[in-house]
């Protein structure tokens, strides 16, 4: 057999062997056996001396090509086997993704605090400071400074837990108004503050009353604030909390520390104002009270009421949360059943 034929035979059988291989090891063996220094191709090339000189380059090229072809066949097969191995491994590693996870729980913030913080952040965005105030307060700040002197009929509206004659559990976060007004330096700009926190009333606890609940008081005092500013501010708040489509309306009311005073209704977020059970078929839901700071309140803090005016508003996070999430019993907020708490995960 000529060298030429020998090489071609080796190519044919080499490629066939590579194709037939089933394991990586076979291919590695094939490579060593066929293409190694002791392999048949190397051996065959030793017969080159019998080849005429002028044919030798051609034969050399052929031998190299045979090597390359076999090499290529081995590599191709190698890849194929590797793919199979990976595929098999992937197959073996397949899991049931519907099995339950390892819980990695983030705790749930209390819904009242979520509600409060949502409102706080809204007002921070409008340039308001957040000032929490005192839960134990002087009668002076809780009542007198809010234009509610002793024997004022408005004291009937809120029964008070007293600690001493002069000390009480604050009944309203408005109690912070006097402190904020008297300590503010108006040369540094307007007073813009909200006071969130816990307040107390001498009430029996039932589905709609709690002796402890929360309020957020808002106050702006400047040379140029008006009833229109109050309306715009509360409109923006109600849209933030209850939805962009909401309208608000003012109804005259009475608070000793504001004049004029208004109750604020928001158009029903459930029915859009058409009338439903939630809005008692009026299309409107009462959400907060507000007004222009009473001149007496400004003057008692040393603010000239002929130059400055104030807008003030107070809202109840419990009421907001009850409306927004359909909570029917205020006691649910304070019994802290984790099933109740956890349903508000991530709502704000």
């Amino acid at each position: 057999m000529s060298l030429n034929d020998k090489l071609k035979d080796l190519r044919t059988s080499g490629i066939d062997d590579a194709k037939r291989a089933e394991r990586i090891q076979e291919l590695n063996d094939l490579r060593v056996n066929l293409l190694g220094k002791k392999g048949p191709i190397t051996k065959a090339l030793r017969g080159m001396k019998d080849v005429p000189v002028d044919e030798r380059p051609e034969m050399g090229t052929l031998a190299n090509n045979v090597k390359k072809d076999i090499q290529a066949a081995i590599e191709e097969k190698m890849e194929e086997l590797n793919r199979k191995i990976v595929a098999k491994k992937l197959e073996e590693e397949t899991i049931d993704v519907t099995l339950p996870a390892q819980p990695k729980k983030y705790g749930t913030r209390h819904i009242l605090n979520q509600t409060i913080e949502d409102i706080e952040e809204f007002f921070i965005g409008l340039g308001y400071r957040v000032d929490a105030g005192h839960e134990v307060e002087e009668d002076h700040y809780n009542f007198e400074r809010l234009n509610i002197p002793q024997n004022h009929p408005a004291r009937d509206m809120q029964d008070t837990f007293y600690l001493t004659d002069q000390l009480l559990m604050r009944t309203q976060t408005s109690a912070q108004e006097g402190r904020d007004m008297e300590s503010h330096d108006f040369s540094k700009g307007p007073l813009k503050v909200i006071s969130p926190g816990v307040v107390y009333r001498r009430d029996d606890d039932d589905a709609t009353h709690s002796h402890q609940f929360h309020q957020i008081e808002g106050l702006v005092v400047d040379k140029n604030v008006s009833m229109a500013d109050l309306k715009g501010t509360l409109e923006a708040l109600c849209r933030h909390v209850f939805g962009a489509e909401r309208e608000i309306r003012f109804r005259p009311s009475y608070f000793p520390f504001t004049e004029p005073s208004v109750e604020v209704d928001v158009s029903c977020f459930n029915c859009g104002g058409k009338g439903c059970r939630i809005c008692k078929y009026t299309g409107w839901i009462e959400v907060l009270g507000a007004g222009l700071s009473h001149p007496n309140v400004l003057e008692m803090s040393g603010i000239d009421s002929t130059v400055y005016s104030g807008i003030a508003f107070g809202l109840g996070p419990e009421r907001f949360a009850m409306l927004k999430y359909g909570v029917n019993d205020i006691r649910d907020f304070y019994s802290n059943d984790v099933r109740f708490l956890e349903q508000f995960k991530g709502v704000n």
């Binding site: 339950p100 390892q102 819980p103 990695k104 983030y106 705790g107 749930t108 209390h110 605090n113 921070i124 965005g125 409008l126 340039g127 400071r129 957040v130 134990v136 024997n151 009929p153 009937d156 837990f161 007293y162 600690l163 001493t164 002069q166 000390l167 559990m169 813009k192 816990v198 009430d203 002796h211 402890q212 400047d222 140029n224 008006s226 009833m227 229109a228 500013d229 309306k231 715009g232 501010t233 509360l234 409109e235 923006a236 309306r249 003012f250 109804r251 005259p252 009311s253 009475y254 004049e259 004029p260 208004v262 222009l292 002929t306 304070y334 019994s335 802290n336 059943d337 708490l341 956890e342």
Partner: protein, 809 residues
Amino acid sequence: MKISVNWLKEYIPVTHTVEEMANKISLTGIESSPVHNAEGLDKLVVGHITSISQHPDSDHLNITTVDVGEDDDIQIVCGAPNVANDQYVIVALHGAHLPEGKRIKKGKIRGQESNGMICGLDEIGVPTKYVPEAYHKGIYVFPEVVTPGTDALVALGLSDDMVDMDITPNRADTLGMRGAAWEIGATYDEKPKYTAPVIDEAKIVDSNDLAVDIENKELVPDFLVRTLKNVTVGESPLWMQRRLWNQNIQPVNNVIDAANYVMIEFGQPIQAYDLDKLQEKRITVRNAKSGEKFSTELNNQDDDENTNTILNKNDLVVAAGEQILGLAGVAGGISARVTNETKNVVLESAVYDGAAVRKAAQRHDLRGDASNRFEKGVDNGAVSDALVRATQLVDENAHASEISDELVGVGTEAKPTVIKSKISHINHLMGLDLTAEKIMSIFDRLGFTAELDNDDVTVTIPTRRWDMSIEADLVEEVIRIYGYENLKGTLPTGMETAGGYSPKREFSNKLRNILLGQGMNEVINFSLMNKKESEDFNVIDTNYTKLLHPMTEDHEYLRTSLIPGLVNNVAYNQARNNNDISIFEQARIFDRPDGVDRPNEIEYIAGAISGNIALDSWNTQSKQVDFYDVKGIVEELLSFTNIDANFEYRATNKISNLHPGQTAEIIADGQSIGFIGKLHPDYQKEHSIDETFVFELNVDTLFGMEKRNVQAKTAPKYPSISRDLAILVNKDIESGAIVKDIFDNGGKYLIDVNIFDVYQGVNIKANHKSLGYHLVFQNPEDTLTDDTVEKAFDVVKDSLVQKFNVEIR
């Protein structure tokens, strides 16, 4: 007060439904709701009894024939004891609907045909307490001729539509029909028309039957009386009775009814006395003597008995010498009460100090229509007119022979309030730009007199609007009548301000986020707790703060720790099978120093974990919470405080209700900042809860501590070398002490020590434990050699042997 549309029509035209009116009045001034009366009732007519005979088979039933305005009279069997011939009565015809779904059908009563029912007022929906006494047991008899067949509900005023105005305390001016008409009139731009009350001049005499002598002008600014002689006390005309029971007032007689009627009409309470029952013919208003007794028919117990009230010296009484006629402004007494036998009458129209009335009414639980009005104020410009009106009505209905002049015990001139303002300032406060003309027209609508001088406006307010005193009041009147719906919202302009939380609140928020990140749910508990709870965890050893007048024993003391609330939450949840609980609260506790009343409010953050922290699942085993789980949370929390201090956990058995062997006080730079521990088994049992671990940290203290000043270091480039150390040591030696000693002796390249094994028991010497530590050495500047590490390791081992007598294993 409920405003009857029929009555209102006497003053202003009314063209709207009560629904529309209530809505408009609510948006303009006073929260109102529509009231439809006698809904669902029908076939009730006025009947005239034309004959009556005894029922043959009954000793208490009568057979009547009644003219009900139809061709033929109808026969009705009636069991009422007061039925009689020629009465005008309420008849429920066949098919009539009565309250509570009751229906009248013709039928036979003991064999006698009965084609309807003759009714009492209570049977057609008037609560018994407002039915005139005479008709409590039996049918109602009209006091005058009414055409048979007339709709009885209309004749009785029971189907009157009304608007119920729920006033705020400042708008008591609408607690009378005339004031309400002004308000509703202003809403609809209609000026009310009133007829001035008059007394028959011919009957007026100069009287000196009675002296009136009032000294305390502060508490009684006005006190006017008139006397009427030889009156005939009897039933009031129907028109007056129906207006009274529609106001939830029981008609009594034509003197007392007139007094009550004027209160509704003018908002001015009027008292009536029997002149002849006065023990002295001299009326005074004085303070009661302590222990003096007073009887009144006004009481809030809804029973028929007179209440005997014991007075005290703060009570103001109307008296004739020793005899108490009434508790001033609160309740009339029975000692000089006007009855059917009364001949000579005294009518009183007075103003009493609101606060005094309010306190007296509260003190004796005698709040009523009169005290409600005096508390909130009455129009002192109408005191005299109201007395004239009451006198006129008594005279018209009870026919006096003589009427006295007004006897003035004390009088205070009623001065209209004058408010000066500027049109521009009113607009400025509203955020509007109304013309002076528009604003002036609103003042006119309200019946205010206003004078304009360029921008200046001077407004004279009639005395009926005593709520008005300052410019802001004018602003409110203008804007509400103009309509809040016409006000366009704007945001405050002015200097920009940087809003935000206080640094303290930022710090609190950060701590809370760590605990949320540890999977703990946030709770909110009450600050007020019972005595036992407050004592259970007074860890800070402070004085208790107690409410003066708690509502219940459950909420009597201000909390000095958040733990009792958390324990309640664990108990509440575990009782409902929510067994695995991990909760925290961030709130204030109340720390009251010796000798002061006001407690300091200190923010704390506290947590409670009970049950499993990992659950049994298809690939994991459950794990119950232990001390070290909670310690891990606390350590992570503290590391986020960024405080530049070492936190030390010092075992303590001093906190009652915590496990004496599983509790640590946490110390930072010598200062106690809180604790962590397991609840005492007895305490857990008391609350029926599983093993529970708690912690509590003082946020204010942590906030006040010095924070780390972080200067960046490059992450080390050189490899670290580690050594493991296993020792045998007496079981009472704390690992903390050993770790500290390792660090003290490990040299500058020792960067970390971890404990990887704690073992006690089989194969270990009695009273000893085996501990395994992993020490990590690293030189940030260079590659460490084994030699260097070995030397440092030897020093560590030698020191442990010397100090703790450990055995190196």
